[in-house]
Subunit: 512 residues, 2 copies
Amino acid sequence: MARTSLGRWIPESFHGRICQPYQDPFSRQPDQQRASRPLRRINPGHNKVIASLTEAIEAAGLQNGMCIATHHHLRNGDALLGMVVRAIHALGLRDIVIASSSIHPVHAELLPYLHDGTIAAFECGVNGLIGELASKGEITCPITVRTHGGRARALMSGEVQVDVAFIAAPCCDCYGNINGFSGPSACGSLGYAKVDADYAQTVIAVTDNLQPYPVAPISIAQTQVDYVVEVERLGDPQKIVSTTTRTTTDPIGLMIAGYAAEVIEASGLLKDGFSFQTGSGGTSLAVAERVRDKMLAGKIKGSFGSGGITGYFVDMLEHELFRSLFDVQCFDLQAVQSIGRHPGHVEIDADMYANPFNRGAVVNQLDVVMLGATEVDVDFNVNVNTESNGYLLHNTGGHSDTAAGAKLSVITVPSIRGRLPIVRDAVTTITTPGETIDVIVTERGIAVNERHDDLRRELEKRHLPVKDIRQLQKEIIALTGQPKPVEFEDDVIAVIEYRDGTIIDCVRRIKA
Amino acid sequence: MARTSLGRWIPESFHGRICQPYQDPFSRQPDQQRASRPLRRINPGHNKVIASLTEAIEAAGLQNGMCIATHHHLRNGDALLGMVVRAIHALGLRDIVIASSSIHPVHAELLPYLHDGTIAAFECGVNGLIGELASKGEITCPITVRTHGGRARALMSGEVQVDVAFIAAPCCDCYGNINGFSGPSACGSLGYAKVDADYAQTVIAVTDNLQPYPVAPISIAQTQVDYVVEVERLGDPQKIVSTTTRTTTDPIGLMIAGYAAEVIEASGLLKDGFSFQTGSGGTSLAVAERVRDKMLAGKIKGSFGSGGITGYFVDMLEHELFRSLFDVQCFDLQAVQSIGRHPGHVEIDADMYANPFNRGAVVNQLDVVMLGATEVDVDFNVNVNTESNGYLLHNTGGHSDTAAGAKLSVITVPSIRGRLPIVRDAVTTITTPGETIDVIVTERGIAVNERHDDLRRELEKRHLPVKDIRQLQKEIIALTGQPKPVEFEDDVIAVIEYRDGTIIDCVRRIKA
């Protein structure tokens, strides 16, 4: 066992890879070269279109034990990963490692192939049932959870080598030019897939919308794509993008949003050039709405909004509250309809979004990011991976990346969920280190990381309910009682990789 | 000495690199991995802006004997390469290799630094005085001429490693996001520079138009750029883009253009999906005009136009005669004004344009390309590098790349220039092998490569002046007389690299 600087015990190695214990957010320097792959030659007249997924897998030379990837822009509507794994299974291949950009609840359909040995491991975080069953010890399948930026880093450094990337391609031509802007499976940005196209040894575009050459604009280019396969349907359009995302109407959520907006204003960052990221949850959107109103009232011209992009941000771009949007993933239909049309709505890849090991990611330029949590603790550490029951249920996304990059990272979270207190002595799992979290906003009070004394004083001056985090915890526990600790076995079912490649925590099997 | 398959004698090695003799256009397979470079880490708060070019060169760690590059999108208006070399000279560095995407006549200003040993070699072709003086033996400086696609290949394969790329950045922010669409040095596409940004060990953006973060759209991203330097002026806007490009009014040019347009029509390629590339010369534009008229008359919807893009192609895009333009370089102001605004006007890099060693370049999808020549020969080999006086005066550009890729490559050339016959027994220098040239059009007749018997018959049916190339040569020489052969010394001043990295010919010093 090895120990991180935050006191967590992690295994010496996991799934064949040495675990470097986490030290701090910023000091680890890369010692690798950018990953390579063989140059190939495609002469005029060559046909890339292959009749079936099975033939494409054979052409790609996929072997037992190799690593595949898909992207998660189709979210819970994705049918491709299931199709690919069934085709791999039918070919009799085994011990395949999945390094997709994320796994969604729909991918519970993979369970039979975990049981029968077709799939050996996940080199990516998982949302939903797969993590729950791993937590219960009902499946055995090592899971390495990565941030969005950390995944880009792992591919670029060669730490993870994807042998075959299957790219769900909503709009694709026969030579492999791709965008996600139109077609029945339109998903907008292909930000996560772009890294796969750049680093996988073989790249297969899979489309339900084969268009005449050339597709334009081009998000992933013909120069990266080896094969093109046509299928009936990439997924369920109803689940690919929700048609609307809405602000919360819950009074607790609204109270939190109001406080969060006040915190942003008090920080002094809400001025010309302001940059901002928020998620698609109801509370996040309510914060975005309040920030927008403050910008309008103050005639503030922001620089950019980033991250998963919603219609709220598109509106702000169109009303010139931001000059640009950096879009790694579209969260709703309005974002899909804007990207590729508005020149300020820029599709970026996961490398540019959040990779710590390049010449500077977008997160480094963020003023404010609004983030969620399943738990926080008195050291400001944040958990988004497990819930208080100990189950691994969520992927990290850009959480640790944006928290590290932004000048002000704000966690908005209700103080109590399911009768359990959200502020803990120690989070069940550390996803994001407290050193990169500035403020925690609950409906019962606002806790400010001690290095932001100025901000704390400013909030007090504005009569906002600032509380020491231990005091806040005490008040919450007075209501909920001290929760019974979850008990764990020794075996590690997942490691939580920090964005720099060190291991910040691990997830153990629940005691039955 | 080694001998190419076309019978040219080339040196065994040149400037420290083994010369592989050219064999044929398509069979050489890459055996390299894509070139790498060290990963770097830039944390939040880091400032990339450096006060002067000199300090940036020092920060980049440039040493004696290292390799630098600039791009040629500013053409004969470029001031950056001169500035860079003067700064290098002032630092006392020596034996620097220049691997820019091209050298223009303006860069004759480098001559003092060739004489004094600051510059040791050109890993790129040259236009103008430098080549002429090398041909005369007045300067000693090995020159390796590459095609646009071949340069991308050489950088991607690591055959040429650029240590420091200086990117003239017409619109740039403090974190290194760049486009060429606006500012006093606006040049449109940055297609050649994009490859440098991707493969140089250190990338320095140099701008005369520093904009607030973030610049959008983004042609070269912050993730690639190490330093940003502000200078007074990148160049002379009058010479960066000519405000108009015009069709020829010369009767010989018009006759050639008319024949060429008939050849395209007779080829059967001028139908829906048609793709087309032509240069910016007056005859090329006259051909484009005729092709446009034929497309309008036939209600033909083309797929794409490519290459250096002119206003003629922009008009055709706007009138929906093409769905897309693939733009590696803007040839005029109208193209600069269109790129970044019209979603079908796609900026591509030199890799996507023409690299033979990727998963398929745009040139592979071309139906027809119109090309020029300084000489052609009875085997359809084409020279664009030297003139009949033996002087190395021109870079190759995309000539060999498009000729190899297109279904139909047409050379338009007057039969006589400066009283010299253009059709030779053997061209002075082979730039592009005859195997990839289909038709040669002169005002005195049209020669068709013998593998296109169908096309020859079709042209005859249409009563076009088809002639055997030896017959055509005979008629021309009857007028000009047999030219006196130029005499050469043994020493090789330049090698002409074919797009696949083999050496197709070399240029020798002229006998005084």
